[in-house]
Amino acid sequence: MRPRGEAVREFISKFGLVVLLLILPVAYGIQDLQTDGDLSRLATNLKDGLSNGAIWALIAVGYTLVYGIIELINFAHGDLFMIGSFVAFGLMGTLGLTVTTGAGGLLVGLLLILVIAMVACGSLNTMIERVAYRPLRNAPRLAPLITAVGFSFILQNVGLLWLGGSHQSVPNLIDSQKVLVTVLGVPISNGDVLAVAVTVPLVALLVSFINRSRIGRAMRATAQDPVAARLMGINVDTTISFTFLAGGLTAGAAGLIYALYQTDVWFFAGFTAGLISFTAAVMGGIGNLKGAVLGGLIIGCIQQISDNRIGTEWTPAIVFAFLVLILVFRPQGLLGEQTREAG
């Protein structure tokens, strides 16, 4: 017989995080049942959470890809996403897209913007890796983290000089709040559909790329053991550049969706978004692509519930508290991390 304390500890380490995550929705669900008699308010919260979370998932994928391969928290990633949203906002003006543009023109224009924003962020991310992280490949682990913080500040400043310090409102091109259908009392709007419609194919594409393609295989090999990968004839530097490119592409896509969904861009949005998405990546298990998506969706829900029930001003503090709790008590996350140390 094992002592009872050990069993309890094992239970907490396995399911503690799941229980912790369920506390808020269950508590408010019961409260809703008592006051309204149905769960439609909670369901609406969760629906908003999922579509918001889809954006966090896209950013979290970028964190997790980079962490998986070189074990670096790419601190500048959130600000890269902000640059993506600025590029999207700028291009809307350049292409002359307004709320009166016809459906066909809108589709072509937005696809064009999506591609340009993705390419811009992808190449920017690759450039940052080349300048700030590659020279420090063999330095102590904190050195590239410090340069990442430095680049985060540089990108924020670029954003500040670009559009100024105030929030910029984006034309509501897709009429993001317009209710498309109502399922079981939950209104589903254009924005929700867009967020899911861009995120799901992109992440699916990324996963199959990493699992199937030659470069994807090289990425996984480098993540496991860079020295051995190099001995097998893999060009480690190119592979790492590709990883940053892929992370940047998703950040650019997230930038466009965010601009359309929130109809608001701000130079400081990247800092908070970055921390939220990093929390998502850790929650799912860093280095784990599916974990990042799952984490993003969960964080989105937590955030919506907190926004709706506790107060918007406390949401960042609650998300950060989750980050601390997860890092301290279950650093391997929900689905387990996939890094060199975890094996």
């Binding site: 074990e71 670096l72 928290i73 300048v131 700030a132 020279p135 420090l136 063999n138 330095a139 102590p140 682990r141 904190l142 050195a143 590239p144 983290l145 410090i146 340069t147 913080v149 430095g150 680049f151 985060s152 500040f153 540089i154 924020q156 400043n157 670029v158 500040l160 000089l161 310090g165 020295v227 190099r230 001995l231 004839g233 800092f271 921390l275 990093f278 506790i310 107060g311 001003e313 406390w314 960042p316 503090a317 950060f320 508290a321 980050l323 601390v324 890092l327 301290v328 650093p331 140390e341």
Partner: protein
Amino acid sequence: MTALATRMRRVKPPAALGGKAGSLLLAAGLILFAAILPFFYDSGSAFLEDSTTALIYVVFALGLNIVVGFAGLLDLGYVAFFAIGAYTMGWLGSSFFTSRDIHVGVGEFLQAQPGIHLNWLLILPCAAATAALLGALLGFPTLRLRGDYIAIVTLAFGEIIHRIAVNSDEGVFGIGTFNLTNGRSGITPIDKIDLPFVERFSTLNIRPWYWTALALALVVVFINIRLRDSRLGRAWIAIREDEVAAVSMGIPTVRVKLLAYSLGAAFGGMAGTFIGSFVNTVNADQFEFSFSIFVLAMIILGGLGSVWGVVVGAVALSFINTRLIPDVLNEVPSKVGLDFDLTQLGFGIFGFLLVIMMVLRPQGLIPERRHKAELTEGIGGGEHETTVEVRS
């Protein structure tokens, strides 16, 4: 040759006695220069104000240097301790809590004011103790974590403290209606520092402020040097260089790390009380993440772990922030026919500095010898490179 042997070779024996006497003389000269500096400037001049700020940043930077430079724990939430110190000053030295009347060791002017008024000399240890306690409390959960996760957890703590400061104008954590921080409007005015045997400090005469800041900075420099050379300091450096080896040598890492967090925090809290009194307000907008990075940039510019380097880094960056960017550089764009506000570039410049320093000169301007050997070890011709050569 083993890595250890290579490292041992790089560490040179301590300088001869003559060198030490020389550097002591240099230090004494610099201190004397700093002490008589105010006499060359008008007592209310902006330069003295900026110098005072620079000296307080020296205290902040040396506090963070203990955590990041000596113990090697990257703390991105140092602003939390600044906040604790400043709020302690605000709570214990202003008319903010008007319903209570407590006066301890203050002059006639403050006796007449409602609220809690303690002498700064009493608030200083209070703030240091509170910050140290909080530092240990925040440090405790990070003990088992690896380096980059420590950075993120401390950052999250800093942001949580900032959020609490912003939102606690009506109820703490949204509970109740008690006004703890007065949010973004802040607590103002704050009591001026009130030292015994000298006349009351005023905003018109910066000299006493300057000398107080200088004294505080000198004490902290002295403590930093003594700590570095102490048993505790060597333990910090040991866990920074190789935690596993340090543990096997019998260093109690938990206690040593917690001491690093609390001592670093205590200095942050002390400097926080001074800033609160000096700028005459404590408001939530002062405690943003960029402050942590600003202080970190000072340490990295000067040299991680190098006490004199950090002093130089702090003075240099503080003056760049208060003088160079607003006064000198601001005229450059209009001269070359450009139209933009260079003051907006502030934190971009510090970010750029972090990148440049880490890539080109990671050991800082005035490097600590031991740290330099550690930092340059892997870059360019370490053992990692030899394995790669096999390919060709």
